[in-house]
């Protein structure tokens, strides 16, 4: 096994966030962690990175406990791509990527021309080399996320741990970021990420780990675990997973409210027994009267 999580527990004060979690990750797989807010996804990622020390259990990287691996050596293998953030200082994009060379530096050494070349080549690889002198705080969210991926690549890491990399990006950048994850995976990198989008997990990941209340609720192939039943239990909301063709699946909400059968029917009086949502003539209607007037008796 590449990375093994053995019986990890973690608590913030009295609140137990992870409760005896055991998982293992294979080299080269893309794993999505899914789960409601507060289910322990982010905590698990931080434990994997050694940022948080678990109260029980341990994390093994290639068989060695991560606490026994030097911080620099670990950083050359495992990189962290944090959630979208605004820095306090407007470092240039190139400076941010250069920080990825820190694990190769001792206290006195300076960044060399080679470090610069590596940083630039990573920016080139991600198609944002034209931004290298721009302040990191003034580029778009998608570009910032690509910059952080470039930094992770400059670290020389083969494992990427990403905390909700999609969150905060516009639609186009979301898709572009997913494409980037596919490219990383095709190159043999391991990607472990948390996400709030079951669709995205279906599209790009080999494996899905569903977390609830600090435990693993389900763990298996993405298509095997991201099902209507599992998502329903995980988020307490009825969901349908539909085949969209080309091997693609999409998730849509499936409660009666959303799937009101009367919305297409033009004739007959309305006799609604349930609440429904309806967009009509620029108005949003919700509740028992949403389909009033034209609906047919059910």
């Amino acid at each position: 096994m590449f990375i093994r999580v053995e019986n990890i527990s973690f608590s913030y004060g009295k609140k137990e966030v992870l409760d005896d979690v055991s998982l293992s990750f294979r080299r080269g797989e893309v794993v999505s962690l899914l789960g409601p807010n507060g289910s322990g996804k982010t905590t698990l990622l931080k434990v994997l990175l050694g940022i948080l020390k678990p109260s029980r259990g341990r994390v093994l990287f290639e068989g060695a406990p991560i606490v026994a691996i030097g911080a620099k050596r670990f950083a050359r293998r495992v990189a962290y791509v944090p959630q979208l953030h605004h820095g306090a200082f407007s470092y240039s994009v190139l400076d941010v990527v250069l920080m990825g060379r820190m694990p190769y530096k001792n206290f006195f050494s300076r960044f060399t021309r080679r470090d610069n070349e590596i940083a630039e080549s990573m920016l080139e690889k991600l198609g944002i080399v034209h931004l290298k002198h721009k302040p990191y705080t003034e580029i778009s969210g998608g570009e910032r996320q690509l910059t952080l991926i470039a930094r992770a690549l400059a670290q020389g890491a083969d494992t990427f741990i990403m905390d909700e990399p999609i969150t905060g990006l516009d639609y186009g950048n979301q898709i572009r970021l997913l494409e980037q994850i596919m490219v990383l995976s095709a190159e043999g990198h391991t990607v472990i990420k948390s996400t709030h989008f079951p669709d995205h997990a279906l599209w790009v990941s080999d494996r899905a780990v569903l977390m609830k209340d600090g435990t693993v609720a389900a763990d298996g192939t993405a298509s095997g675990e991201i099902t209507a039943g599992n998502l329903g239990k995980l988020y307490n909301i009825p969901v349908r997973v539909m085949d969209a063709g080309n091997g693609f699946s999409v998730c849509i909400p499936s409660s009666k409210k959303w799937e009101c059968t009367c919305r297409d029917r033009k004739n007959g009086p309305a006799h609604h027994k349930h609440d429904c949502f309806r967009k009509e003539g620029g108005e949003t209607r919700a509740g028992k009267t949403a389909c009033s007037g034209e609906g047919k008796k059910e």
Binding site: K46, L49, G50, I51, G70, A71, K72, R73, F74, A75, R76, V78, A79, Y80, P82, H85, H86, G87, A88, F89, S90, Y91, S92, D95, M99, G100, M102, P103, K105, F107, F108, R110, F111, P135, T137, E138, Q155
Partner: protein
Amino acid sequence: MKPSILIILCAVLGLMCCLSLTLGKYPVGIGDMAAFFLYKTAGAGPMGVADAELMENLLFDIRLPRILAAMLIGAALSTSGASFQALFTNPLVSPKMLGVLSGASFGAVSAMLFTRSWFVVQASAAAFGFIAVGAAIGIARLYRTDSIIMLVLGGIISEALFTSLISIVKYVADPYDDLPAITYWLMGNLSFVNLRTVTIAGVPILAGVFALMLYGKHLNVLSLGDEEAHSLGVNIRVIRYGIIFFATLASTLTVVIGGMVGWVGLIIPHVARMLVGPNNIILLPASALLGAIYLLLADGLSRLLFSFEIPIGIVTSLFGIPFFLYILRNAKKGWS
């Protein structure tokens, strides 16, 4: 392009140094200085022995210590300020964040109550600077976390503690003798400076300033927050406490030399950021140079503005405020 700014700053600083040597009640022109230089090096030239002795006294015993003191204080406070701003990921932080200036001031003024020995006062100032920072860290550690927020809180408490201790000292001080001396000293001034103090305090100050400069790339990473710094292989604790130690060393010794000099450590890093950008690898040397220039300027003003000398701490704050207002308008790019 950016390293050339450092060279320009060096040149400006050198020029300001020479200019400052000519400033004062007794007029010394550039020509006099050149003649004196010729006398000292070649033993010849137009200057006579008596004049040369006067010049020696004026330049080496009176003016040079002041100039060195001003440059050391400016460089130390600006570098510490820039370091703390990155360390606390907050551009509004200044070197006194962890209570070092209040602590050192308390050390000095409380010693003034008991002794007339200038050396004891200075040693007490240096020691209490470290004690105040130690107290801040101790308070933060009470809660068993390494979080920067707790450190900020510890610093606020420590500073408040030593500020109120200073008030106690003022309250009990003899109002005719000690109190004026204490008050005057707390304003920050360079008129008591002598060459011995400057050399004794100057060496560790420079060591602190240069050590902080070596931390440039670490400060960049730390300013992204602990989690990212950790994931980039940085030993946060060792690096952070190292930076705090050297910043405290440099800052507490500025109090030893010149009392409490405010505002420099807050504004100069912003000016430097406007010139060279936020990258701490170049920002720290730029801050040091700019801080030295700013304090030379302030010292010149404090001597020339009126027929009597006003404490330099007043000048740095009074001129610092409008300066800061102007910078705030322009510096948004530096730290939005």
